[in-house]
Symmetry: C2
Subunit: 435 residues, 2 copies
């Protein structure tokens, strides 16, 4: 049987998962693909920590170059993360014509153009199933399963930490801060949770999905990002009362020749399958012009789920390499210049608005008038408590409006006498009427 030598850079959580997966199911993989994956070398700065897997002596080194340059290593797996040293190592491997498998979403989102160009130049490939939604084979679904479709929309819950926090807030009626602390205690959030809760991790993944869907390298500067930090408990409760759940959603759309990619807390219909995706699970809903809506669900992170995706890429590389030369390159995204992006102000959305409004006659009328003057129709209004002379929360749900009109109205509302405290606005996605 053909053997393909694997070199691993980074022996952390996922790296150890890849080793465990190979040890456990290496024979099965060989049987299914006709090629054996042989783990030759692993590089990590930490040579001593116990990762719960046994290695042959001499496999682990702290010299990444030795792994990359080893002639017995035919494919390099990069699991270091970050955009500095990982990029350098990947470019070195590609320069040697060696294919690279990576889970590095930040690197692909920020430097994908350079990396895919290097792969093309050296007639090799970069495989990144593990970079989005962990073990869920969404990259393959977009590239192969839905290849006949123009992608109209993608909605994604792509960050398990955020979804865990939002699920906890909704089910246990706790505050954001409380849910974050529990997520940290449970190992589902980092000590420094910014990359997750401020939406940047989701944004990286959204950029990768959009790039694949539209065949262009979407720059991060074109991805609008808003996280869930400080989301108020009361908004989760109000949204539920209106028949919505709140999710940190990646929203990718293509219409009238323009692409929009955004990440923000979003109200989604409570009865929709997307709203039922809870805890650390991820989901990606893809709408194609032929297939309609399809969705892909599973664990978006973690040692073994991510390893499953890395191993599927390794199996793919192994099959291709063993089929002979010239079988590797996959079409890489086109340069970003080819695409047109929709400015945030030009997007259309429905909005959820929570105002703190002085309870006196005519106030609500003034709010309505201002919204109306900006062409914004109201779908529903909710003012629960009455306390004449005090500020009370008023919830307004709008019909479709343009973002810049809504924001203009909001600026006027915020400056209005009788509007106090913090005004909250969130976008609503109805996720299509296909249900």
């Amino acid at each position: 049987m053909n053997e393909i030598g694997v070199g691993l850079l980074g022996f952390g959580t996922v790296g150890a998962g890849v080793v465990e997966g190979l040890q456990k199911n290496g024979d099965l993989l060989a049987e299914r693909t006709g090629v054996r994956l042989a783990l030759r070398r692993i590089a990590d700065v930490d040579m001593v920590r116990d990762r719960g897997v046994k290695l042959e002596p001499g496999v682990l080194t702290n010299d990444a170059a030795a792994v990359i340059n080893d002639p017995a290593v035919q494919v390099v797996v990069e699991l270091i993360g970050g955009t500095k040293i990982a990029k350098q190592f990947i470019l070195q491997a590609l320069a040697l014509g060696k294919p690279v498998v990576t889970a590095n979403k930040a690197l692909l989102a920020e430097h994908g153009e350079e990396i895919f160009a290097a792969a093309a130049r050296h007639h090799t490939g970069v495989f990144y199933e593990a970079s989005v939604a962990g073990g869920v084979p969404i990259i393959r679904a977009l590239r192969e399963g839905l290849v006949a479709n123009r992608i109209a929309r993608i909605y994604g819950i792509l960050n398990g930490t955020c979804n865990y926090i939002l699920t906890k807030m909704e089910r246990e009626q706790v505050t954001f801060e409380h849910a974050l602390k529990e997520a940290q205690a449970a190992g589902f959030a980092e000590a420094d949770p910014g990359l997750d809760i401020d939406g940047h991790d989701t944004a990286h993944k959204a950029a990768i999905l959009a790039s694949l869907a539209y065949g262009v390298q979407v720059p991060m500067s074109r991805v609008y990002v808003e996280g869930i930090r400080g989301l108020a408990k009361t908004d989760i409760e109000c949204a539920r009362g209106l028949g919505y759940g709140i999710k940190l959603l990646a929203v990718i759309k293509h219409a009238d020749g323009a692409i929009e990619v955004r990440v923000h807390p979003t109200l989604v219909p409570a009865g929709h399958m997307i709203a039922s995706v809870s805890g650390v699970f991820n989901v990606v809903l893809v709408e194609g012009d032929i297939v309609g809506q399809t969705a892909y669900y599973g664990r978006g992170a973690g040692r073994l789920p991510t390893a499953s995706a890395v191993l599927s890429d390794l199996a793919d590389v192994a099959r291709r390499l063993s089929a002979g030369p010239g079988r590797l390159p996959e079409p890489a995204p086109q340069p970003a210049s080819a695409a047109v992006y929709r400015d945030l102000g030009a997007i259309m959305s429905r909005y959820y608005l929570r105002l703190s409004l002085l309870d006196k006659p005519g106030m609500l009328g003034q709010v309505m008038t201002i919204l109306g003057q900006h062409g914004i129709s109201i779908a529903s209004v909710l003012q629960k408590e009455m306390h004449a002379g005090k500020h009370v929360p008023v919830i307004i749900v709008t019909d479709q409006a343009q973002e810049k009109d809504f924001e203009a109205a909001l600026r006027i509302l915020d400056a209005m006498d009788g509007v106090g405290g913090r005004t909250v606005r969130m976008r609503i996605e109805d996720l299509g009427t296909e249900k």
Copy 2:
């Protein structure tokens, strides 16, 4: 650009969808794959009916052999359906070394062994993404995305007609007969609905998924089938009261070296994502030993969703053919002899039981005793109405028990004085604790 000639057998709903998809997105496909799919010939017995798509003159013929044998046709798409003439045509195409793309679940489930063997003998391939779950790329997910996983379990809602009926019964509290009539009126059920509502269509798809997951050709005789015909409205209501929805579920499991494949109405937890899959949508939940639970969702039938899957297979074939000789065969399932199947009596399940029981002291105690004597523990009992001296419905939910013990207890219960009318039993699947 390379061109691959396509011959189409069967110009019905899906056939017309494939033509429409190619006309609409043929350029996109060529751009994405580097190969152009050229529709050369179509064979159908009906040469006149308008299918809503325009064809070049001379493309449509009533001579299937002329399409199969045309040297300009390099890949044959079979969309005739059924197990007779479709099989003959597929074997003819394979004998010429031409790859075949098919949506024919009945044929693959019943004669897969012969067809895959013919493909292997002639060094070509059979591609069948469209045979299960319409446009949802579940075949690719199992074959490639989850290639590193041993598949522990698969749960599938695989028949849109049944799911439409069950959704209608649940949401509108109508009877089975009423929901079936509405499904027929809406075009979601055939005039002769037996293949769908008696579970055979789901069973064919379950056999295909199990065959792929375990690398053996699962014979239909090993697939236990029970449909939803005549399902009582009251059981849907009782199940809901207990926190369950009822779905026609394909259940595929592999444990202790034995495979079980069964199709039956199943109680699933109402909060689970699976229970939220409504109407004509399909879902396949796959649990791998490395990735955990993943799921795949979308429209399971229809002109364009199925065409999307056919076109993805055509794109795959085109890429492989244009990469040169020797690139086609995919590993075919092993002969059935290699596998061990679990007898239905040996499966473990929880059960829902609805008895019509005479309301008199001691009756429920007798029922409990009989269940206890068969080693069956009770999780909950519900007896709503009280009418001394009359028969009242009693709902019992059991803990895990072996099917043969449960059936033995049921036979005794059914023969017991004071048990009247029709006793209903359904299996419960808790779908894992991963949520």
